[in-house]
């Protein structure tokens, strides 16, 4: 096997090469660094410029727990989450009932 084959992944519709992707990613990073280095440098450590910005409020403990994150995302998914959560009811009878349902479906699919 040639060395470039050990990196390529031929999928039948094209190929995937991590090296090419890495080169592209490196270029993008370079670009990002360029933008970043053109930014303002007037920021002072240890002053209030250092503090995280939480909706303009002064907060004692600026720690964000994971449960606070993506609040809007979780809120938008809430109806789905509530229904799915109710589906995972925790009652073992329901789990067994789903087994019976799937058993019936498979029998219908295979025997008919």
């Amino acid at each position: 096997m040639r060395p470039e084959e050990s990196i390529q992944l031929i999928t039948g519709q094209g190929y995937w090469t991590p090296l090419l992707w890495m080169a592209a990613a490196l270029g993008t990073l370079l670009l990002a660094f360029l933008f970043w280095s053109r930014g303002r440098r007037g920021y002072k450590r240890g002053t209030e410029q250092d503090l995280p910005f939480v909706s303009g409020e002064k907060v004692e403990n600026p720690r964000l727990a994971a449960t606070h994150l993506y609040w809007g995302f979780a809120e938008a998914l809430r109806p789905v989450l509530r229904r799915l959560g109710a589906w995972h009811s925790g009652v073992v009878n329901d789990y067994a009932a789903w087994f019976v349902v799937i058993l019936a479906v498979i029998f219908l699919l295979i025997m008919v």
Binding site: E5, G12, D94, A96, I110
Partner: protein, 510 residues
């Protein structure tokens, strides 16, 4: 040792598991060495078997015969217990050996002495023996026995922390469903035995004619194994089990699920390979899609880090089912696409083992340091545990299929394979990946970023080395996927694809 390697990989952990309590009576240090040595031995054995199988084709080992290769008793009827190892079995054994090498060292310090460390090692070694046995066995009844060995040992590990109220609950539910799955499997075996009077997989495969009884047995096999592999809507036990078992032992539970998946492929491709129609393939594809979407959405709402990762692990099962299911559907019509999809599905098993394994190791390390897994309380661990933060980030990116890590390499094969069948399948799979990325970015931010939190104990080397090994695996598999695809995955995928006649010929001749 050469010819005996397949049976040694099963018998040595069995013997070692029974002997562990006796060794622990002598010395605890000796027990730790003993357990690690056995895990190492198993890894060497499965590696040896894999090298042999990939080089020379299907290997058969007959127990109690006059020679290891004497498969047919006088009268040309295979009655002996035998191990039949083809590319797919060898690949599955490799995964088991790899994760054993990762999980056992991690557990050495993770499980405190007073919490029954000896018992946990006994159960883990029995589970390992069951997993390798399941991968290598060549007859259906031993398949059932190993299925039950893994079930019982796995539930022992899940419900192991009896002083918490959650672990026994998870173990009870899991055991009930595992028992159900095993019993329906046994019923299917009984149907086939009643019809053909044999238990040997290869022999039965040659006899099957697709009669009504065969199809009843197929339905029972499917229902039993789909329950064991946690395919939605039969996945309810999986997050409970993965979440509540000690994190070091969850790795073995992940392999246990994967080996059940392997069993499903063995039944569908080898046993029923001659008589299967595309309907079953569509069933597998549909349940795979449902699994990945439902588990990814459920992961969004989780409050517990372990349970969140558990849902992520369940969603990965969906990708494997999608890849191999597409292969099953297109096997007759478009075999070239079937091979791509099969390679993707099979490759994803290896990648899933590494990434999910690393994630659970990180969960274990976080729990060990902070004593909690509640996402509302964790935060700022990245300052004290930069290595763990890095590994968690790496593994979650790989799980979500971000290039150039290994998860992407297998997912792109699955995407391209399934795109041929229907673009909708690919769209759903990509969507689930994006959802997972969001979920794990949130978990990473919440656990590791934020103001500094002091961490007391230093992480021991027995934690870091397994993590480094899996992380290196993730990166290397992502950077040179072609090499591993060619060397390891292709023999396994081809064993499913067109390897059935080789499997039958190795046992029955002709």
């Amino acid at each position: 040792m050469g010819t005996h390697a397949p049976i040694l990989a099963i018998a040595v952990p069995l013997l070692g598991g029974f002997a562990t309590p006796l060794v622990a009576r002598i010395s605890r240090v000796l027990r730790d060495f003993w357990v690690f040595a056995i895990a190492l031995f198993v890894a060497v054995c499965v590696g040896f078997v894999a090298a042999q199988v990939f080089a020379h084709g299907v290997t058969v080992y007959v127990l109690g015969g006059r020679t290891p290769q004497e498969t047919l008793a006088p009268g040309a009827f295979p009655i002996r217990i035998m191990l039949t190892v083809d590319g797919m079995s060898a690949f599955m054994g490799l995964i088991a050996g790899l994760l054993a090498l990762v999980a056992f060292p991690f557990a050495l310090r993770f499980i405190p002495e007073e919490e029954g460390k000896t018992l946990s090692f006994t159960l883990s070694l029995l589970l390992l023996a069951g997993i390798v046995g399941l991968a290598y066995t060549g007859d259906l009844f031993n398949f059932f026995v190993f299925l039950e060995v893994t079930s019982i040992a796995a539930c022992g590990l899940i419900g192991f922390r009896t002083w918490t109220s959650r672990a026994p609950e998870a173990a009870f539910k899991t055991m009930l469903l595992y028992a159900l799955s095993g019993l329906f499997f046994l019923m299917a075996v009984a149907f086939l035995y009643g019809e053909y009077g044999a238990l040997n997989l290869a022999f039965l495969s040659r006899q099957l004619r697709g009669s009504a009884l065969d199809r009843v047995a197929l339905a029972l096999f499917l229902s039993g194994l789909l329950l064991k592999v946690a395919a939605a809507p039969l996945h309810f036990w999986a997050p409970d089990a993965y979440g509540e078992a000690p994190a070091a032992k969850t790795l073995l539970l992940v392999v246990n699920t994967q080996v059940s998946l392997y069993g499903l492929w063995r039944i569908l491709f080898t046993l029923y390979g001659g008589v299967l129609d595309a309907g079953v393939g569509w069933l597998v594809v549909a349940m795979g899609l449902l699994t990945m979407v439902v588990a990814a959405v459920m992961a969004v709402g989780q409050q517990d880090l372990g349970r969140l990762v558990a849902y992520g692990a369940v969603s990965q099962i969906g990708y494997m089912m999608l890849g191999v299911g597409v292969g099953l559907v297109t096997l007759a019509g478009r075999p070239d696409y079937a091979l791509v999809a099969l390679k993707g599905g099979v490759f994803h098993m290896l990648n899933d083992a590494l990434t999910v394994g690393l994630l659970f190791l990180c969960v274990g390390a976080v729990e060990w340091v902070r004593g909690t897994r509640d996402l509302g309380e964790l935060g700022g661990l990245g300052h004290g545990l930069p290595e763990v933060a890095l590994f968690f980030l790496l593994a979650s990116l790989a799980l979500a299929g971000i290039p150039p890590l290994n998860g992407f390499a297998s997912k792109i094969l699955i995407y391209h394979g399934s795109f041929q069948l229907s673009p909708i399948l690919t769209a759903v799979a990509v969507l689930a990946s994006i959802l997972l990325l969001a979920v794990f970015a949130r978990a990473f931010q919440g656990v590791f970023l934020g103001p500094r939190v002091e961490v007391k104990p230093e992480l021991p080397w027995s934690f870091l080395i397994p993590m480094i090994v899996s992380a290196v695996g993730i990166v290397v598999l992502g950077l040179v996927p072609g090499f591993f695809l060619e060397q390891v995955v292709t023999p396994a995928a081809e064993a499913l694809w067109r390897g059935r006649h080789l499997y039958l010929a190795a046992v029955l001749g002709g």
